[in-house]
């Protein structure tokens, strides 16, 4: 599968709704490098969704520019632009009267693809998002669970292999357990596909987990900080960002690293007896939670084969 992705630039992008004095998005400037996930996060009224919809022209710009691969979006035919951008929304918006396969084939049909090609592509995508091409393709959206629907929504957005994806709180309406699984699968997919993604959420934890970069927007659509998750957590630029990421930002920063990233002390004979054992891909926050719960000062890190790789002490873990 081709992995080309587009670079997206917001250049003083501004939206003022008619009849309003205040901007919804205020001179937003940021660059999303090709193949990266940029999360727009912030309180309601921060203009995240507006900023997202400016990109595919669902909301017209008041002033400024948005460029995709250097070309202002105003230069594109708006329907062609939208067909070339994957679009996923919270309520999914699958067409209830179409089968899963027909839903996925929406944009390919608009582009005049042949029937067989659409069918093959739908099967390929269903496989990719973890659904069963044979069993699920002829089902209607009403027959699917919320999580399955969102998978179909994602497959539909990927149908013509877009260079840019816009995702508006795609996992917002899904229960926490399924949401975490979808986030993991999305990251795994992104690792393969390397799309440029703009991802809107109001959940800072999701932003930290998903984003290569995070743009925090404050009320009035002003950009408060645009940085990597690490930087946002370790060096919030002001009170607003610090407040938004929360008092537990030091703990959240621990989620960005896993036990496998740490230097391990060798396991000494008998020294690891009674210590909790955790796989190397456990993040440091979860590992700390286990230390607290078990009231121990160290734990054993297991390799992927389940054998002990080394020992980590509490000080090293939170240091």
């Amino acid at each position: 599968m081709p992995t080309e992705a587009a670079e997206l630039v917001f250049d003083e992008a501004t939206k003022v709704y008619p009849g309003r004095d205040d901007a919804a998005v205020d001179h937003l400037s940021l660059t999303v490098p090709a193949g990266e996930i940029c999360v727009l996060v912030g309180p309601s009224g921060g203009g995240k969704t507006t900023a997202l919809k400016l990109v595919n022209g669902l909301i017209p710009l008041t002033s400024g520019y948005i460029r995709i691969d250097g070309r202002p979006i105003g230069d594109y035919d708006v329907t062609e632009l939208r067909r070339s951008i994957g679009y996923v929304i919270q309520q999914v918006g699958l067409f209830p009267h179409m089968t899963v396969e027909a839903n996925i084939g929406t944009v390919p049909r608009l582009l005049g693809w042949k029937r067989q090609r659409i069918r093959d592509r739908a099967a390929e995508l269903l496989e990719l998002v973890g659904l069963d091409p044979e069993k699920d393709r002829k089902r209607f959206p009403a027959e699917l669970s919320g999580g399955q629907r969102q998978r179909v929504g994602l497959a539909r957005a990927l149908a013509v292999n877009p260079r840019l994806m816009l995702m508006d709180e795609p996992f917002g309406a899904i229960d926490p357990i399924v949401r975490a699984r979808l986030q993991d699968e999305f990251l795994r997919l992104q690792h393969e596909l390397r799309k440029t993604v703009v991802f809107v959420t109001h959940d800072i934890d999701e932003a930290i987990k998903i984003g290569d970069r995070i743009a925090i927007l404050r009320e009035g659509g002003k950009l408060a900080q645009f940085d990597t998750p690490q930087q946002i957590l370790e060096a919030p630029v002001d009170e607003f960002v610090a407040d938004f990421v929360g008092r537990d930002r030091a703990l959240k920063a621990l989620t960005l690293r896993t036990l496998g990233d740490l230097e391990l002390a060798p396991v000494q004979a008998g020294g690891a007896d009674g210590l909790p054992q955790l796989p190397a891909d456990t993040n440091l926050r979860d590992a700390l939670a286990v230390l607290v719960a078990e009231r121990t000062h160290a734990l054993v890190v297991l390799g992927s084969d389940g054998s002990p790789r080394g020992v980590v002490r509490r000080e090293e873990l939170i240091g």
């Binding site: 669902l58 329907t79 929304i89 918006g93 209830p96 009267h97 929406t106 608009l110 089902r139």
Partner: protein, 242 residues
């Protein structure tokens, strides 16, 4: 009596006409002898005329309502006025409507059809508009966001999703038109209303003709509803999955 004058053209329906028959002599409710004898010259033609009256009225009514509904759906300010107009046509009693139209279109099939069509408009208009409005906003947003034009959104998303409501309207309008079309015989000698009126017009109420023609009208309404329900199921497969 006008009923009797009409009878002259409607064929021999006086019980003791022709070969004497025991059933007819006693004015029985279901004289198969008479039904056999007059199937081809009275009942079948009336049934076919009735179907024609209905199909034409429902067809024209649907097309007009469909165009009105598109206007009322796209331009919300016109929805109110169009609604009032169709509502008005719906509330006029059909016989009064026939009489109001006679000065314009005379004692003709046209008069009957105009009244029948006017009657269906309200049912169709409301159902089509409600059906179109029932499309969830997020479905419209994703259609737009994926690059469907307005026309594509209408034909591929909004209209198919309005199908259940449109078919509900079609079924109500068809059954209602079949029933009202019997009253057309008040004006013209068309449809199942003609033998019904004939039977009512005979001195001692000709039972067999009344029951047979009335029964055919009921049977026609049931059959039409059954067929349309089947068609509805066939074109709205997604509604069966919940």
């Amino acid at each position: 009596m006008s009923g009797h004058l009409l009878l002259a053209g409607g064929g021999p329906v006086i019980p003791n006409f022709g070969k004497p028959n025991e059933c007819l002599k006693h004015n029985g409710w279901f004289c198969t002898y008479w039904i056999h004898k007059h199937w081809h010259d009275i009942l079948q033609p009336a049934l076919i005329q009735h179907i024609q009256l209905t199909v034409i009225a429902v067809g024209i009514g649907f097309v007009i309502s469909f165009l009105l509904a598109i206007i009322g759906y796209r331009f919300r300010i016109l929805d109110g006025p169009i609604g009032v107009l169709t509502d008005f046509a719906y509330t006029i009693p059909s016989i009064a409507f026939f009489l109001l139209l006679v000065p314009l279109t005379g004692v003709t099939v046209t008069t009957v059809e105009v009244a029948l069509v006017a009657f269906t408009l309200f049912i169709f208009y409301r159902n089509i508009v409600v059906g179109l409005r029932s499309v969830p906003p997020e479905v419209l947003e994703s259609a737009r966001g994926m690059g469907m034009t307005r026309g594509q959104t209408f034909w591929r998303v909004e209209l198919p999703l309005a199908r259940p409501a449109i078919f509900a309207g079609l079924r109500i309008a068809t059954v209602a038109t079949i029933s009202i079309a019997t009253v057309a015989a008040f004006l013209i000698q068309d449809g199942l209303g003609a033998p019904i009126f004939d039977a009512i017009g005979t001195p001692d109420l000709f039972h067999t003709e009344l029951l047979t023609a009335g029964g055919l009208a009921v049977l026609l309404a049931l059959t039409a509803d059954f067929l349309l329900a089947g068609l509805q199921r066939a074109v709205t497969p997604w509604t069966r999955t919940r």
